[in-house]
């Protein structure tokens, strides 16, 4: 069914198109994986300019309803988006409570090749060298948090040469490369750590840890993957979110 746009209202054309396209997705007329008509076809169908069509589709791509695949077309990705409340936060490399006095120690800073699924997470080839950093955060000299950080070598080669003891890695990368972090994807899980993690965090054999997987993106590209292991102690992980002023 083709809904029509009207030029009699004050509502912008692209917003009308956005509403029409979104409804098609939500109603299932455009199902998941369906390739939507090309911009040219949509211009013709709705008698609208390419700019308006592009803006409407762009908004749906941004919201995650549609996915553009260069050379192939635009496809329906999701039927509905659970938007939640839009809030902002400062992304911090370490989420320990604000007033805690902690120290960090770089246990490992070396290069490795992608193993297990690292190449998939970072969207790199299996022959891409990675910088691997293992950092231990202690509070009152007691280990509390361990981080394993994987960064493709090409993202920031200088990282290997620097003494990172007094640097936050993220800060260093942003200052010393063209990389600007634009998105963070975070997953939290309970984990049974490996013997080497147990040793670093001084855990007993049965203790589990909180494992935070973080993928940081610069534009569409994942550039840093980290695994943060937090042991159960008297210190909390903490982060603050604020509602975005609309």
């Amino acid at each position: 069914m083709i809904n029509v746009i009207t030029r009699d209202t004050h509502q912008k054309i692209y917003l009308q198109l956005y509403t029409i396209f979104k409804k098609k997705i939500e109603d299932g007329e455009w199902q998941v994986n369906y390739k939507i008509p090309s911009e040219k076809e949509l211009c013709k169908m709705y008698n609208a300019s390419r700019t308006s069509i592009r803006a409407a589709i762009g908004e749906l791509v941004r919201e995650g309803y549609l996915l553009r695949i260069p050379g192939k077309g635009t496809f329906v990705l999701k039927k509905s988006i659970d938007e939640g409340i839009i809030m902002t936060t400062f992304y911090k490399e370490i989420w320990l409570e604000k007033d805690l006095s902690f120290s960090s120690q770089i246990l490992v800073k070396t290069t490795i090749m992608p193993i297990e699924n690292l190449h998939k997470i970072l969207n790199i080839s299996l022959s891409t060298h990675l910088i691997f950093i293992k950092r231990l955060w202690s509070i009152n000299n007691v280990p509390s948090v361990l981080q394993e950080i994987y960064i493709p070598y090409f993202v920031c080669p200088h990282l290997l040469e620097e003494d990172l003891k007094d640097f936050l890695i993220l800060e260093f990368i942003e200052k010393n490369s063209a990389i600007k972090i634009t998105k963070a994807e975070i997953n939290i899980d309970l984990d049974e750590p490996s013997p080497s993690i147990r040793q670093d965090l001084k855990l007993n054999n049965k203790e589990k840890v909180l494992l935070i997987h973080t993928i940081l993106y610069s534009g569409p590209s994942p550039v840093i993957y980290s695994k943060t292991y937090k042991k159960k102690d008297e210190y909390k992980l903490s982060f603050k979110l604020e509602r975005k002023s609309l």
Binding site: V108, K109, T110, T111, M113, I115, S127, H129, F132, S196
Partner: protein, 162 residues
């Protein structure tokens, strides 16, 4: 005079080769090396560079060391190895044999050369210590590698010139 040329003029980038830390297993190293070997322009010799926690080069493994490392799991004394025992390498049992850490089988790197050293010094070290590769340091930092191939090319160029 070619012999007086500096090592830095002919060394190759260390990132031509795969890097792993010493605690990686043989299983992981074999999978990594397979990726490099199947590449169109994979550098010869087929080796993996082994580093420690602070990115210091500790050793290397090539195909021969990998085979030796696997075989060491089959018999106590490699001299007792026979064709039948080697057959095991071509079965599922190889997964158990590839469990050991790579530092157990690597060739430790003992000889280094500086970027400012001469090619003749590099040639001497490679030939007389029977090295597959010679690591090149600059301010104590690993910056490159010299292989027999680089030395051979210079010698061959002399012949071509004549």
């Amino acid at each position: 005079m070619p012999a007086k040329r500096k090592v830095k003029e002919i060394m190759i980038d260390i990132f031509e080769y795969p890097h792993v830390p010493y605690w990686f297993t043989l299983d992981q190293v074999i999978k990594i090396l397979k990726v490099f070997i199947t590449q169109k322009e994979s550098p010869i010799p087929f080796i993996v560079l082994i580093f420690d926690e602070q990115y210091n080069l500790k050793g290397l493994v090539g195909l021969e060391e990998i085979f030796r490392g696997l075989e060491m799991g089959l018999v106590e004394n490699l001299e007792k190895l026979d064709e039948e025992t080697v057959n095991i390498l071509f079965t599922e049992k190889i997964k158990d044999l590839a469990n050991k850490q790579v530092h157990e089988i690597m060739i430790p790197v003992k000889e280094f050369i500086s970027t400012e050293d001469t090619i003749s010094k590099a040639a001497y070290l490679i030939i007389h210590h029977k090295l597959q590769v010679l690591p090149v340091l600059e301010n104590k930092k690993l910056v490159g590698i010299i292989r027999l191939k680089e030395i051979f090319n210079i010698i061959a160029d002399q012949l071509v010139k004549d």
